[in-house]
Amino acid sequence: MILQPVLALLILRYYRKCFKKEDIPRNWKNIYWGSTAFAILLFLLFMMIRESRTIVSWLGHIFLLALIYKGYNSPKLKNARSALNAFLPVTLIYFIIDIITAIDKSFYKTWENYFDVAGIFAFIWMIAMLIISNKQMKAIEKERLKTEEAERVNKITQELKAGLEIQVSERTAELTAQKEALEQTLSELKATQAQLIQSEKMASLGELTAGIAHEIQNPLNFVNNFSEINTELISEMKAALDAGNINEAITLAMDIDDNEKKIIYHGKRADAIVKGMLQHSRSSSGVKEPTNINALCDEYLRLAYHGLRAKDKNFNATMKTDFDNSIGNIKIIPQDIGRVVLNLLTNAFYAVDEKKKNTKGSYEPTVSISTKRIPIPGKINEAKVEITVTDNGNGIPNEIKNKIFQPFFTTKPTGQGTGLGLSMSYDIITKGHGGQLKVESKEGEGSQFIIILKI
């Protein structure tokens, strides 16, 4: 029969549809094209040969059944199963008819009508099933396209996501680099600041050294002189004792005693100066200790004065002190307060010296330092101490008055001032001691810096 190759071609068409165009596996392609070619060959044989058609017909049956078996058996051809359901009855009916015909032709003839009806039903079944199957196939196809589209969208989303992730990680890397750079800059700035503070300390120590040398030289001269005198006096006393002149010996002994006291006094004076210098150069201990503020002010006044004297031989100024002896010892960080006092005094001396250089008439440069205890009303155990440094220099112009405590602000020529003195002083008084540093100034008349500390 011609039916089998035609059915085989139709089935192959359905199988073909089970794969997307692009990705048919190689072995399936071979099977498909091989089967198609075989079906066409059978069809042509059938058309050309009139005799011995039976062999061709049997070949057709076997081929078709094998094809259908393959379809049911292979999971990849799942989508073609409903189509196979359509073809199966037709195939089986004609196969059975041929078998029966081959076994007993008379039996077939007897029941021919029934067989024909069965054949027709099988055809109707096939057509109906194919229509249903086509619809199903279309629905499946539609679903497949939808899935494909979803997959495509998903793929694009994935790509975008990957792109974004790359961008994000790039930005993160950039930000991390920036952060690290900033941290580096910050630590460099901190190091620079520490260096600047150190250089400010060293600069003020430099201002001190000459003063210190002078201040130590004087007491040492006294120590040497009085020691020499005492040596002389002792030999004189021995002589007086040998001569039995007791009264003179006693007088000499008293002189020796007086001189000895002076030696001790000046020795201690030199000692205090050296200690003060060491304290100044040492980094602050940060520990508050009971300190005689009057002695500290007096010491730094002398150091500052002689320091400037040593640098500039023409420098001269009147120094005035007014110390309140009722203050006693107050708890401060002596190195730090010393630094502040020195800074204020150095500034004051600088101011009067500047004015002196620019004044032709009579002008007496004067720098004074005073301390005062101020009771707080209603509080017995608490009080304030005011340390005031006054000069009669040129004063501070109003427009720069609010800048003088800013770091690096200086009115001195480049290279002469670090611009850190007052800002460091301000920090020491306000942050380090919880006090206040105030300035009062009148242009042309002078300035007054007031340190207020709570005790």
Binding site: H214, N221, I229, K262, R309, N316, T318, M319
Partner: protein
Amino acid sequence: MKILVVDDEHDVKTLFEQRFRKEIKSGEIDFVFAYSGEEALSYLAIHKHEAVLILSDINMPGMSGLELLRQIKQKYHEPPPVVMMITAYGDAENYKTAKELGADDFLTKPVDFIALKEKLKITN
């Protein structure tokens, strides 16, 4: 001989009195002390021509020794007192200025009292 010693250090008085105790005792030298340039000038204004020799420190707060020297040399001509300058800084500039202003001698601290005594004998 009356000597005016000008120095802002108060113990200079004791020092001189001790160093020159024999001379003071014998009445050879009489010391007067002033603790600033201003004080020295007011002493000189009252006790004219009393001091034969003035020993002055250069570094003093207020009026400096050099300023004192200038004023003394301006005001007191006949007979001019001998003025010796003393300084802790033995520098050329101070020395030059002192000489220009008419200082008769220039000493550096620490004062060599033996040398000073020799000089006083010559001055005498």
